[in-house]
């Protein structure tokens, strides 16, 4: 089940990844071979089995009390930001 170039363009768009014209054929080939490889799963005969999301059974999301436990570190955390203004992250204009 090979992927077409259009398939890969659509997937790249969903994943918000730019792929150059040069790179595109390489990705089409390698993604096709990966999908062929995992297609073995679709041929496997499985009975009625519960899907397993967590490797240890019986786990559930732990909850904690709804009380404040952190203090303000935004300056420290925003030190890594490409562009910050007045505590806000700056990005290209979103709304025309």
């Amino acid at each position: 089940m090979s992927l077409t170039r259009q398939d890969v363009e659509k997937i790249a768009h969903l994943a918000r990844l730019s792929i150059t014209e040069q790179e595109m054929p390489v990705y089409v080939t390698s993604l096709s071979s990966i999908v062929d490889f995992v297609d073995e799963l679709s041929r496997a005969r499985i009975g009625d089995v519960e899907p397993m999301a967590h490797p240890l059974d019986g786990q559930h999301q732990r909850l904690r009390a709804d009380v404040v436990s952190e203090t303000d570190h935004h300056e420290k955390y925003q030190a890594n930001a490409p562009a910050v203004q007045a505590g806000l992250y700056v990005v290209p204009r979103v709304i025309e």
Binding site: A15, L17, S18, V38, L41, P55, A79
Partner: protein
């Protein structure tokens, strides 16, 4: 020679005053300066901070503090956030990222008094089996620098084998501790899922990732795991179950231990590799263990299952890298979509993009049931197979890798060939089981590893079995030429 001593022996030298932690740290820093250029095992060296930490450890010791890791030098895989120190995850995406906090693993080892020498090179975002996908260039195997050290924790493994630190940390999602441990002749431990906190450990596949250790012996690994393991409320998948005393359990006699040989591991295994495992089994029988053949019928599906589940989870985890809040941002983005696409397209390497796209595909509308849901069902079948096997045996044994280290460049162009390197290790990740790889011999003068897998939370028994093997053999004390 100090760099060849075990953690226990180093501790005794430090306690007796024979050497200070500052002197020991200088010794390892000198080894790194001399030996690392040929290996490229480190991304960031933290020499100044290391000497400060060593001086602090010496002061703590002078004040009467004791502790097996006090003043002991280590290197952390560059996937663990280290406060104030670059944490790159082997990627251009985080080349400029200075972590604003310590991962729990880092904090616990720091509290125990360890000295961080630097951050180890790794496959980008932990995706790889050869340490060839790193933005910082490939790591070389100290046993033969034309060969890979394995991956994704290739830098940590090479550094441990070359004795650039007393031990190193790593992570294992599909074999990324055990496989490089086998290819570099060191002991690598992947704990049970949930045993060690993932807080501050950059996420690849959240239901598979686990932090662990590379050391030159199971005895050393036991000391380190003792400090790393335990419940952490900041990791919602951390399991709240007591940590046994791993060093105390090392010497328990093996008499009556039932070891299972996995039939599926031996099908198609090369004769030279198989014979090393059979030699190891003779040693285990000599120690009083019984060996039994067991079968995990769904195990052959484990590699395709993993290569659906792990990419799916990675596509979700890596969506946080968007050029907005941290990490790489492309130049002159024209609009928000361009910002996202080019920051990610330029910031990520090819294997990472392949896995993100594979994950996006298997989660997308129309394919979710056929791939992801199916993979999760097969995952349960594989896990149930292991559970059934552990009703008959205490531990499972097999090879860690199909072959010794391969040449740099040999497999990097074909992703599927690379993926098949994980064939023996992936099952344990899918089932959340602990596994250890220990050196068991050589093929073509390159190290090979044997793998032990146990039920959930059986790290004490695994380390015990590994330790007794290492008392009966000396594979683990060999050093690569030039790194003795």
């Amino acid at each position: 020679m100090l760099h060849t001593l075990s953690i226990g022996e180093l501790g005794r030298s430090l306690s007796s005053g024979e050497i200070s932690s500052v002197e020991l740290t200088r010794l390892f820093l000198a080894r790194i300066e001399r030996l690392n250029p040929a290996l490229n095992a480190l991304i960031t060296l933290t020499a100044e901070q290391a000497l400060l930490a060593a001086a602090a450890a010496d002061r703590r010791r002078a004040a009467g503090e004791k502790g097996p890791l006090l003043g002991i030098p280590l290197i952390h895989k560059d996937i663990f956030c280290t406060d104030g120190v670059r944490t790159s995850c082997g990627s251009r995406m985080l080349d400029n990222f200075v972590a604003p906090y310590d991962a729990t693993v880092v904090a616990r080892l720091k509290a125990a008094g360890t000295v961080m020498l630097g951050k180890a090179n790794m496959d980008e975002f932990a995706m790889g089996s050869s340490n060839e996908t790193s933005f910082y260039g490939p790591v070389k195997n100290p046993w033969d620098t034309s060969k890979v050290p394995g991956g994704s924790s290739g830098g940590s493994a090479a550094a441990a084998a070359a004795r650039l630190a007393a031990f190193t940390t790593g992570t294992d999602t599909g074999g990324s501790i055990r496989q490089p441990a086998a290819l570099t002749g060191v002991t690598g431990v992947k704990p049970t899922y949930g045993r060690v906190s993932r807080y501050g450990m950059i996420a690849f596949a959240s239901s598979l990732d686990q932090a662990g250790v590379f050391a030159r012996s199971a005895a050393d690994a036991a000391i380190v795991l003792q400090a790393m393991a335990g419940f952490d409320p900041r990791d919602s998948t951390s399991i709240d179950t007591p940590v046994p005393d791993y060093p105390a359990a090392l010497q328990e006699p093996l008499k009556g231990l039932k070891i299972g040989l996995l039939r599926e591991f031996f099908d198609g295994l090369e004769a030279r590799n198989a014979s090393l495992i059979h030699d190891a089994l003779k040693i285990y029988r000599g120690l009083g263990a019984e060996t039994v053949e067991v079968s995990l019928p769904h195990l052959p599906l484990s590699v395709p299952t993993y290569y659906v589940v792990a990419p799916a989870e990675c596509s979700s985890n890596l969506s946080r890298f968007d050029g907005v809040r941290f990490g790489y941002r492309c130049e002159n983005p024209t609009d928000l979509l361009d910002l996202y696409k080019r920051s990610r397209g330029e910031g990520f390497g090819a294997e990472v993009k392949r896995r993100i796209m594979t994950g996006t595909y298997v989660l997308s509308a129309g394919y979710f049931d056929a791939y992801y849901l199916k993979a999760q069902k097969v995952r349960r079948l594989i896990t149930d197979d292991f559970r059934a096997a552990f009703e008959q045996v205490d531990l499972l044994i097999g090879p860690t890798t199909p072959t010794p280290a391969f040449a740099i460049g040999a497999k990097i162009d074909d992703p599927v060939t690379m993926y098949l390197n994980d064939i023996y290790t992936i099952g344990a990740n899918l089932a959340g089981l602990p596994g250890v790889s220990l050196p068991c011999g050589f093929v073509e003068e390159l190290p090979m590893g044997l793998q032990l897998i146990g039920p959930h939370f059986s790290e004490a028994k695994l380390l015990n079995a590994a330790h007794l093997f290492q008392q009966a053999t000396d594979w683990h004390s060999r050093s690569p030429r030039g790194y003795e």
